[in-house]
Symmetry: C2
Subunit: 618 residues, 2 copies
């Protein structure tokens, strides 16, 4: 089965995306326009991205210093791919026509973008940052900020970043030390927004410096000092600022002035090397601007609400990270499937033992290779379904009835930590299995799978580590609104399992899902039964892992429910696709879902082994 | 706790290694001589190996061509380390005095060597191949082969390799195509052994070419064609040959002739880059020798018994791989422990929520960081205990009473697939957790953990993949001699758990181990209940995983049984060590052992999901 066939099945058959054309916002669209967007992205990814993914890894970004200061050099192919992507219009695919968008559903946009992630995220993989940055401004920026900055980003003239972390503050954003002070007396009268001067260092900034676009628009978290000049502790103190690398006038044109944003260094990474990852200094005086100290920045939204605004981009980024992890997994799955079909080795484990006189068989015929392929298939296609489901929720949030929209928002809040963390963990495991199938060859740089594995290792770290996602899920999402989110998610699962009970071939899975949900409920209650956050959250990560597996079991059962009835009357090719989905579902229920027992046991018991471990005992 | 403290505890307190001095072979030794070997290896590894592990990765081997032909360039530090290691005498540490050895127990040799693996295996990491090669000759070679080849290897003058795989035959050794034909009429009269001419290509040969020694002694699997000139199919056809890179006379001196062994290429790997991994051409005419075609090789052991002879080295190599994986895990554990103690980030999850006005805490105080450290500790120290236990079995095999020796052999047969596979899988997971603790910093090449993770990924592949180990365990070891090996292992476990039942603090673990053993027995019976190998072995890998976890639970309980009574009267430092062992044991029983349920379920049911998956459905 090709990836495209799976994608089409999930979009058209499972999520019924074509019916979105009945909504006013998408009225100009149809199954055909959706398909043509997928076609052109599939082609573009194949021609301009995939062939250069390895080059972007081996020729990683390097700093070049000349009379214009320091700049980051990238391979020509990355520039060409970046330009081609901007020209495709995909940066603004889901945006309004009037800002240059295509008004595509988010789910179609995500599906189309999946081809680029699958081709390898090293080539121009920062596009998501640009559109995410612009999307944030469309929600929280002023109309002028939108036309001056966001519109240029959607058009690909400007690129975007998100600047949250600092060397001393990664997961703990409340400790951000970058400060912003009003830029003189006229700070409030700048048409681009209240004008501040920023000073500080930002770490781990992807695409923080490059020449893929005319300008780079940094969205920067910084603190406005209180009346006593001190920074306000905690996240309350944080505000959000637009800090362009080059200053821009209200007409959207560069003024010719460089802002005081200086590249302080590149991080040399294990993988994901095509994307320059930078340490940036803001306002340290390297490029003094307009005769005063500090980098010029424009407030976005209201003061002290920076983190809330930034979460708009972060939530989007988290789902994008999940999708990226999924597609790296998928790329490895496809590579190892191809290898397994073509590599002869060994003989069947028949009842009569192995007969060495017979010819060798392709390794795909060995049960253990099939196991590793099925595991990958269940992880990657399952995660793909989850990510598309989330994107479909975004469409519902934006274009559904008020009630459906509210439900979609709640579902998204619940699912975001899973959509981010689950593919990061299991897409990585998929890549490890892809290496394993290749044997020694998979350990060499002559095959792509080792790079996928290195690239994917980032995804459990950035945009909130696994541990942070776990605290968000068990500490916040599960208990918010007196458990309304969890109840809604459980109700959706319940609906699926009740449908599953009526299908004999799926009834056992439905029953297993019911058991798993019960275990999850019991563990959730157990964790919070003493009301002590330190007791409840000590095992938040195993909880996140189990929760993810239950969500994926639900997704797989729902996909299987869609596939099963289509078997009757299917062509051989269609039947193979449908059988593949059903087999991956069975694999997930038999081999994966039972893992939750071990994870939930410690959660329910509020196991204190880790929490009470004395530091001196390590 | 330092690594050395743990090692001393396991050797002296748990395995009672000092008592070995009561055996005749070790009569010259004492706890003091053992300690002094550990001291000097610890120092040597710290001074000559650890500082260069990164350099050996970044300056990976490259081919240099000059008038002498092609050679492999390595950093000077690797040569210096290799020389220092040879001078330490460790290559022959466990050998007889008369061949230049120290007659140390294997368990002391392995413990001493662990320091080098912990310093990073990229610097002169091929020493194990040299001693393993020589060890094989001490068992299967003629007296002259031993003095001419093995003795020079033990002295560090010659290096060794093992040449099994070919480009078309990795896991499937029965398909080896390298052939050996008698070298003229006088082939039987060479004092170095029956002389053959070899022709073929060998792939994945670690240390296949380098200049760390005067000569390289290849042990090569090849087939002697039958009377009809055809290769005999299957492993029966395989014989074993000594093929020196440079020819050697019966006096052990180089004759000045080069043998026809040509470097055909280097493999460019994901990790483990310090060790040159080569493709070698034997007898293709690049270096014609003595006016005839083919590389000269001397038969080792009897014809057609090559694989049996080679298994002597392979079994040793498998345990060495497990030890290497363990020590990479340990190195990552120590690095992440150090980072966690020193990196401030976030605040305690107290009952009153987080107070951002308070100073940040070192991340080691977060429960989730402790969880990741405890997981690493339980994996790496548990695996270390297992590997030392296996080495102690080798000593028992060699110096125990006949009955004890036979039992030790059987135990080793049972434990070898676990000793190889378990640390490969969980040492890698430990390295991933070490990266996770470092956050973004762990993903950069500025910290060592990403390299450990890359290096460790090899260990599930070489010396028999995970899948091969699994088939060996469930298909051969568990059923051999009507289950005698499994019964013996279970009896040892039973003894431990019965002791555990009498210690209130460990009784729950003992009971959990009893349950786990029962599950393992039931699953083993279920797998073979139809007597069909394809049904039994379809889930051999999950069986291997579960079996490994049960073995490690037993090891941990046994270690805890040793630690517990020592708490009374222990100094603060000793108590911290003992509490650490007990906590790691508890972690393993609470968080890890319950995982076996999911693995064994499919084994017991002979789940056919993978086996029956149609290729077209992927």
């Amino acid at each position: 089965m090709s990836y495209r066939q799976t994608l089409d099945f999930l979009l058209n058959d499972w999520l019924d995306v074509p019916s979105l054309q009945n909504r006013e916002r998408f009225a100009d669209h149809s199954a055909e326009t959706f398909a043509s967007v997928l076609d052109s992205c599939e082609r573009l990814a194949r021609d301009k991205f995939a062939p250069f993914n390895r080059q972007a890894d081996t020729e990683e970004p390097r700093v070049v210093v000349d009379h214009n200061g320091e700049r980051v050099h990238l391979p020509a192919a990355s520039l060409a791919a970046s330009r081609a992507y901007a020209e495709s219009g995909m940066l603004a695919a889901a945006q309004d026509y009037e800002i240059g968008g295509m008004q595509l559903p988010c789910v179609v946009q995500m599906a189309a973008n999946s081809f680029f992630a699958r081709a390898g995220g090293n080539v121009a993989g920062g596009a998501m940052l640009t559109s995410g940055n612009a999307n944030l401004l469309m929600v929280h920026g002023t109309p002028l900020q939108q036309t001056v900055f966001a519109k240029q980003e959607f058009a690909g003239r400007f690129a975007g970043t998100m600047c949250l972390s600092e060397p001393q503050a990664g997961s703990s954003l409340s400790d951000v030390a970058t400060r912003a002070t009003p830029d003189g007396d006229g700070f409030a009268s700048d048409p681009l927004g209240a004008r501040y001067r920023l000073r500080g260092n930002k770490m781990w900034i992807s695409n923080g410096e490059h020449e893929l676009a005319e300008n780079i628009i940094h969205l920067v978290l910084a603190k406005i000092p209180g009346p006593d000049g001190k920074l306000i502790p905690g996240t309350r103190g944080i505000s959000l600022f637009i800090v362009p690398k080059k200053l821009v006038g209200p007409d959207g044109e560069l003024t010719g002035e460089r802002n005081d944003v200086a590249l302080a260094g590149l991080n040399h990474k294990l993988g994901n090397r095509g994307i320059p990852n930078t340490l940036l200094n803001f306002g340290e005086g390297k490029y003094p601007v307009r005769g005063s100290n500090g980098a010029i920045g424009y407030l976005v939204g209201r003061p002290h609400e920076g983190l809330r605004c930034m979460f708009h981009m972060m939530n989007e980024a988290r789902i994008a990270v999940g999708m990226g992890a999924t597609m790296l997994g998928q790329a490895g799955y496809e590579a190892s499937l191809d290898y397994a079909r073509n590599r002869p080795q060994g003989r069947p484990t028949g009842t009569g033992g192995k007969d060495a006189a017979k010819p060798q068989i392709p390794i795909i015929q060995h049960a253990d290779i099939k196991r590793m392929l099925l595991a990958q298939k269940s992880y990657c296609e399952g995660a793909l379904a989850l990510e598309l489901y989330c994107a479909r929720l975004v469409d519902e949030q934006r274009t559904g009835t008020p009630e459906a929209s509210a439900d979609a928002s709640l579902m998204l809040e619940m699912l975001t930590p899973i959509a981010k963390s689950w593919p990061s963990e299991w897409g990585l495991e998929a890549n490890s299995l892809a290496i394993q199938i290749h044997g020694g060859y998979g350990y060499t740089r002559d095959f792509p799978v080792e790079q996928y594995w290195r690239d994917n290792r980032l995804n459990m770290i950035h945009e909130g580590t696994h541990g942070i996602q776990a605290l968000d899920l068990l500490g916040r999402k599960v208990v918010m609104q007196e458990g309304a989110g969890l109840a809604l998610l459980m109700a959706r699962m319940q609906r699926t399992l009740e449908q599953g009970r009526d299908v004999p071939a799926l009834a056992a899975h439905a029953s297993a899902l019911a058991d798993a949900m019960a275990q999850l409920r019991t563990a959730t209650r157990g964790a919070w039964s003493t009301g002590q956050p330190d007791e409840a959250l000590a095992n938040a990560t195993p909880y996140l892992q189990a929760f993810g597996h239950v969500v994926l079991a639900w997704i797989w059962l729902d996909v299987a429910l869609c596939a099963r009835p289509k078997l009757a009357g299917a062509s051989a090719d269609e039947a193979a696709l449908l059988h593949g989905k059903l087999a991956a579902c069975t694999y997930f229920f038999h081999y994966e879902l039972p893992k939750i027992g071990a994870w939930l046991q410690v959660v329910e018991a509020r196991d204190a082994t880790c929490r009470t471990m004395d530091e001196a005992w390590f």
